[in-house]
Amino acid sequence: MILDFSKLEWMHPGLLLILGAWVLPLLKGRVKRVAMLLLPAAALGVCVCLSMTPEPELVLGRVDNLSLIFSCIFSIMAFLGMVYALHVDDDVQHVTALTYAGGALGVTFAADLLTLYVFWELMAISSVLLVWQRREKSAAAAGFRYLMVHIFGGLILLAGIVLYSHENGGELAFEAMKPFAEGAGWGPALILVAFLLNAAVPPLGAWLPDAYPEATVTGAVFMTAFTTKSAVYVLIRGFAGTELLVWLGAAMAIYGVVYAVLENDTRRLLAYHIISQVGYMVCAVGIGTALAINGASAHAFAHILYKALLFMGAGAVLQVTGLRKLSEMGGLYKTMPITLWLYMIGAFAISAVPLFSGFVSKSMIVSAAGEEGRQWIFLMLTLASAGTFLHTGLKLPYYMFFGKDSGVRGKEPPVNMLVAMGLAAAACVLIGVFPGLLYQLLPNDVVYHPYTLHHVTSTLGMLGFTALGFFLLLKHLDPERKVSLDTDWFYRRGSAAFIALTQRPLVRLEASFVGEIYEFVMRRLVLGIAGLLREFDTRVVDSTAVGVGRLTQTFSQILRTGVSGNAQHYGLIMAAGVLALLALAMFVI
């Protein structure tokens, strides 16, 4: 049978995952594991079919090159994540992970703002379960904070959509917006803020390093991919060329790097590097040229793969040793060499080492900044690149796998975890060696050559001398058992400080004003009315009841005189009655 691609419009890959996920709890053993892999594979299949259809259509959706590259990588990621999670016996995690991935696909194909909003919220709600399923106190608290922030972001998005629609005569189609244009109103600006919150742009991004390291080992791998990159997608769709994003993105790239220096928790360090890497994409969206948009898309694609690989590596160490702090690790290379090498491929990819995926994607963004003559942006992004290699490529593997031997001995993680890491690593190398594979998926037709001699040598020089700096300053980089303040302070400690500050006036207010009102209302009003009611009860209700009782008593006493129980009296009364009847009959008739 030949598949008719034109009939695909009813098969939304996102719904395929969201609905298909509910089959998993019904299955067992090998069948279940096959289904876990089959669902994302089918979603990817639909995406590939859509890309081969001349004029693809989708219910509630829009299909073009931009939505296809993001939906393809989201499906691939869902597949890799499922391979990594095959050994986990927890249906809640599998169902929510697939729902989360389905939500991301829904956002990617959304043609109107309301559909976008529905899938946006679905992602927030499903992903929080991946945090809670770690079932630890810190995870529960972090999950609540994560949910609170995203519900807040969702409300901003909804408000923005309502205002936008109102300002544009009921228009709900999701098209490019101009938030800073004359007479644009508040709608597009609020939508932009909601998108920036999900892209983890500071100061709205503290939820990311707060929640991701608290998620389950396998859940965190899913989380690295979908929320921030779907936000990058909607930013490209709605706000390409917005100047503010150029500077926010470049600042964000450096911000993540600064926090990574201070961080001791492995997965939190990697989470700060998500912020840094997404900064490149946000910056590219702001630059907005054809090359920059291609760079943002390509970098999102490559980033999802290598960041998943890095989280898989750190997750594998957490899984087998139970350790999450760099200060407690060291010397693991002796017992976990495969994990080490696979992790290092991800580290080379994120650091943009030639022949790895980051080199062919990140350089597009930096070159786009160069072509536009943006010197400061170019320098900021290159500085952040050095920082990326410094932490993800040098500091983290040094303290995790080498460094001072902590005596901790792990073993390699389960085979399925290694296979997932192997697949992601293979993709990182494949894209790096054959960039054409990735470039053919990009939304704009732009010719770009990453492997020029100048580019390769200057990158190698930059990386090599960063490594030199690392080894020279190594003793200053020892991880410290500390936490770093971020903007989540405002809702973690700031709220407590606010309460402490307002406690005294509140107590005074309560004692004087509220107390007086209470006194007046309770004493005078309520007790007064109660007294009246009691009076009414005793006077009217009681006396009525007593009166009725007395009346009945009197009546029955009158009756009692006639009811003596004596047969002669009854006979006399009957005879008198008969006589009376006879008299009546005689006189009346």
């Binding site: 020089g461 090599g464 001398f465 300053l473």
Partner: protein, 86 residues
Amino acid sequence: MNFLERQLTDPVRFARIKRWFYVSLAAVALAEIVVLLVFHEEHHLPFESWPAFGSLYGLASCVAIIVVSKFLGKVWLMRREDYYDS
């Protein structure tokens, strides 16, 4: 004992690795200058044509990031591990 362990625990081999590291650094910096002089590839920004700009900027970035971040951490950002628990 695997390959990596042999390289790292044996002082002679470790010294050899260190030497190769420095040699390759010098080679990369030199290559950067040579490529710039021999092949006149297209540049968009003025500092891209400075000799060994990538290498120098890499080293400067690395040092700047470590020093500035550590300074910010010490004076402002870093707190006790149980900061949020108390």
